[in-house]
């Protein structure tokens, strides 16, 4: 689905992200693991098309590029309620108002925050904000979902809900994390290091 080769992102004469090769299949679960500053966020932004100034090659069909969604490490929520935020992405799809709300509520329910639907985004905790942003991204049904540290700030119940949703998601998911990801996600692990990455395929 997406092939990345010899990727290198340089800023102010410093290599901030380097990767020899990465293939993403249509239903892959890939964990990008590395310490702070190893280039995980940069790699996700390159895959999302938000970072265009890089060396190397990235091949992917326009279909995938137009259906790739990225959730920030510290997600941004628009003014309004949680439900309005999740519906936001669906406004570009050809669904009726009621259908959009139902779909959004279904994702909020799956992530265990349906009770927050009418709450203002100004009054959410870090974990609630993260799950709201994730519901917004999942609702548009991307072919490739890019999640930057999705388990940070979450309580055990939140982690369970997110892991379950990611596990059941039918399309490709790439997760960046500074720590080892839960085994339930059965991710193929790509380790990024500050200088040069090496790969360890953790898939059984």
């Amino acid at each position: 689905m997406i092939d990345v080769t010899d990727l290198k992102v340089v800023r102010q004469s410093r290599t901030i992200c380097q990767l020899d090769t990465l293939q993403i299949g249509s239903q892959d679960r890939i964990g990008i693991v590395g310490s702070n500053g190893s280039g995980k966020t940069t790699l996700l932004k390159v895959l999302a098309g938000l970072e265009t100034d890089y060396h190397g090659h990235m091949n992917g069909s326009p279909e995938v590029r137009n259906h790739t969604t990225y959730v920030h490490q510290s997600p941004f929520l628009f003014r309004g309620t949680v439900l309005q935020n999740v519906v936001f992405g669906l406004r570009m799809k050809k669904f009726g108002r009621r259908e959009r709300s139902q779909m959004a509520l279904a994702w909020l329910n799956a992530l265990g925050i349906a009770h927050l639907a009418e709450r203002s985004t100004q009054n959410l905790s870090g974990g609630e904000r993260r799950r709201t942003a994730m519901a917004r991204a999942l609702a548009v049904q991307p072919k490739l979902l890019l999640l930057d540290e999705p388990l940070a700030d979450l309580d055990p119940g939140g982690i369970d809900a997110v892991v379950r949703v990611i596990h059941e998601f039918p399309h490709a998911v790439v997760i960046a994390s500074p720590v080892t990801l839960p085994a339930e996600l059965s991710c193929r692990i790509v380790t990024l290091e500050r200088q040069k990455p090496h790969f360890a395929d953790a898939k059984p």
Partner: protein, 234 residues
């Protein structure tokens, strides 16, 4: 000093009884400035959004030009409008010279750089994640523009009110393009200049009091909006 205190007393009397000349000048000032600023906002906000979204040397150069235009003296804009609207000018047949619509056009030219520059500055100050989030959710341009306006509304309102306060207090355009015609193009500023030169201090002071009142209202409105925004953030 006695003439000043008498002037102030007489000014209040004129305001209370609703002197026709004062009311006419005040009304002209208000509707001309509001029309100019509304038109300028309709043009400038989309222009600022396009400049913000288009990252090229052309857009950067235009932003510099708009910022430079903030320093244009109103008499220069008045002069340009006069040349364009006069009988020999390219728009002479439109008969805009010495008409309130001519003043609206001049004040529109004054307001556009203010609204574009301040709105652009506000958009630049927005969180970069807003644009990134909308791009990765593949949001179309219409919804994107609505979101920009929603997220940057305080800054945009400040831009609009700043333009309004500049338009309502300017003298050069109103005098040169409007011609200070009684009950037709006379505004608070041109009337103040005229009445003072004629020694009619009371009328001049009455006009100035209205201008100060409008300026005060705008300041209070801006402060209230800023407080509301801060309380929402908290």
């Amino acid at each position: 000093m006695q003439f000043l205190s008498e002037g102030v007393t007489h000014a209040f009397r004129l305001l209370i009884v609703g002197d026709a000349e004062v009311i006419s000048a005040a009304w002209n000032s208000v509707w001309i400035s509001i029309s100019a600023v509304l038109l300028a906002t309709a043009v400038s906000v989309p222009m600022a959004i396009v400049l913000y979204e288009t990252k090229s040397w052309v857009s950067s150069s235009l932003v510099v030009l708009f910022r430079a235009a903030l320093n244009l003296p109103t008499v220069f804009i008045g002069l340009v409008c006069y040349a364009v609207f006069s009988r020999q000018g390219p728009l002479g047949s439109a008969e805009l010279l010495y008409s309130p619509f001519g003043v609206v056009t001049g004040e529109f030219m004054l307001a556009v750089p203010i609204v574009v520059s301040l709105t652009f500055g506000t958009l630049q100050g927005l969180d970069t994640r807003i644009l990134e989030t909308m791009r990765t959710l593949h949001i179309g341009s219409r919804l994107r523009w609505i979101t920009y306006i929603s997220e940057a509304r305080l800054g945009m309102m400040v831009a609009v009110l700043t333009a309004f306060s500049r338009c309502i207090t300017e003298l050069g355009i109103a005098m040169m393009v409007g011609g200070n015609i009684k009950f037709h193009t006379r505004t608070l500023t041109t009337a103040t200049a005229l009445e003072t030169s004629r020694g009619e201090f009371a009328r001049g002071i009455a006009m100035c009091l209205i201008l100060l009142l409008i300026g005060g209202c705008i300041t209070v409105l801006l402060a209230w909006m800023q407080r509301t925004q801060e309380s929402i953030r908290e």
